[in-house]
Symmetry: C2
Amino acid sequence: MPRQDAARGAALKIFRAALKAADPYDAVLRHLRVPDRFENIYVIGAGKASARMAQAVERLLGKRVTGGLINVKYGHTAPLRRIELNECGHPIPDENGLRGAKRILDIARQAGPKDLVIAVISGGASALLPYPLPPMTLEQKQRLTGKLLRCGANIHEMNTVRKHISAIKGGRLAEAAAPAKVLALILSDVIGDDLDVIGSGPTVPDRSTTADAERILRHYGIKVPPLTETPKPSDPVFKHVRNVIVGSNALAVSAAEREAKRLGYRTLVLSTFIEGETRDVAGVHAAIVKEVLASGRPVRRPACIISGGETTVTIRGTGSGGRNQEFALAAAIDIAGLEKVTVFSGGTDGTDGPTDAAGAIADGKTVARGRELGLDADECLANNDSYQFFESLGDLVKTGPTGTNVADIRLLLID
Amino acid sequence: MPRQDAARGAALKIFRAALKAADPYDAVLRHLRVPDRFENIYVIGAGKASARMAQAVERLLGKRVTGGLINVKYGHTAPLRRIELNECGHPIPDENGLRGAKRILDIARQAGPKDLVIAVISGGASALLPYPLPPMTLEQKQRLTGKLLRCGANIHEMNTVRKHISAIKGGRLAEAAAPAKVLALILSDVIGDDLDVIGSGPTVPDRSTTADAERILRHYGIKVPPLTETPKPSDPVFKHVRNVIVGSNALAVSAAEREAKRLGYRTLVLSTFIEGETRDVAGVHAAIVKEVLASGRPVRRPACIISGGETTVTIRGTGSGGRNQEFALAAAIDIAGLEKVTVFSGGTDGTDGPTDAAGAIADGKTVARGRELGLDADECLANNDSYQFFESLGDLVKTGPTGTNVADIRLLLID
């Protein structure tokens, strides 16, 4: 654990508050309220965190849950009583996934007008709900999406095609559940929380069309398979559908902000949309710290500046680390020598890059403390070796796997 | 000129307010107040903008100015009546500079206890005040600083060495003026306004020592010339010295903020310390815009977010442009399709990179408008070809050379 002083303790408390808001179980408990009027309540869904979400539904609704089934990644289970767990392949979909998706669609179809279908959707749902429209086989679908990936198609293009060759995505799951009411509880791992994108939107009206999908396939020179139109926003089906984001980077950031306020900080949420090369993003964060010290702008001390989203690292060296540790190291270099400044960055899944740490914590003395141990911060950064640097200093932050993923949380404390 | 709509007009008004605050003449008029008690007032100094600063001193003090001399870059003149102008070499110092520096030091030396010495210091003062301590010659000094540069010495190391081989830098000009009072009017072109750094601080106590200078020279394997100690902060000389920053990026940003408020915007000054790779810095700015649109954080609409400092561009292509135009282009790509968002970036010197534009303005339609003209924004960015892109759209912002330089101003308007 990192050296403890007041600011470091505060940063860890604030991060823990963010993790709690992102926890699949807690998130569902906080958001699920179901009126008494339904005859049956079915729980379906998919995602890496969906077992824990389903567990929370059972905890709240108990015997009111008639039954259901969710597709989860192998090993991503939780003890359930009334809802069946189906473990299947991720990130490569498999036959178990297909079987589960068919049964999930069947459960939705047989729900009646007095029933409620609760869908628990979390990151990974897209791969965990494979159901290509016959006559396309799972293998053919995988070849098609593989080709698209290799052509350099972006996530929006991928999803547009996926939705028009799927029996369950692009709003089709909600369509199947009509006339039952649908309540989708969504844990978002997508920057910007675009409902359309999360798990390819099985309960969300689709804004794209078969014409769009065809255009994309032709653009990349791929033979166009049979496509089927998805339900559109004007479709009356969606009058009975409510999509609720129960956990997201934005909600985690808001929880962090509440905790920081409780600890006496003036808070500023910079953005939950932060992307880009980690060290440059760190530079902009450090520039804001310097302004707070110089002029009390954009927020006066004691200040806690919070940002979310997820950065990238262009690997140039041979060291180990992750984007959060690299952020902390780059920021440590930029704030070296400054007093009363603490910087933290952590991944909400608890595993930053291929390491056992969630992130790291740094302050104005970090670079000097590294030097005393014979570690050159600039060299470590150039070698992408943030893990070794912070491990030697005892400033890694380890939470273990958290069972959730709503991207990263960065904190700048200026006391 | 760029297409006019309300937000674009507002952005240009806000930039003009920043330029006015950074104007050398206006800046001195705003900050110079001199009591009546002085027998003589001498005006000395150096810098690219110092002629205009001296002109403002003459305008305010008229015949109270006894005389003086300032070193300016060739062609950077202004009509003066009582203060002599000495044009000299920049960025390579020359013999004219040396002659002027000697006379400036003489003027300071002969000032008496009832006199005031006003020093007008602006960007370029370091090269424009060359006065190596004898027996070192100007040529020997240039060889030495050239060697340091080639070894990769940073600006702080350069200045530490420079101050200890100079007869005028590192506080020595103020030392020479004692027992006269000294009022230094400083136009800062340095991020963070470190007085020590601006023009190598001729009127500012030096925190570095000959030992520091020696250590740096030995580190780079350079033969150590005779070094002389500079006056330190505790030196009683500085009781009679006042250093006033009359213009700076921070003051320009504050003026921009006032104008934005006047136009009805909620303002947020992000930082005046912004550095780093332009396109990544633009990405963070765009992420903040998205957050404002999504949640009203960190500031609610109508919002004007202002940032200062100066970014860099790693040249990868063969196009033309500057850091401000590249910022606007990278931001345009990141905000493409967003409504009611306007982005501006401009250099306060009026010349962005090797172009005749100060910067450029963009909004959510910029990328689409480029496409209509056959210009691919991503390709232009990859080729560092922001000038052609914005010129074709008519969205360059041209002010002509402004005679000042307090780095850059960036504006994000979210209406």
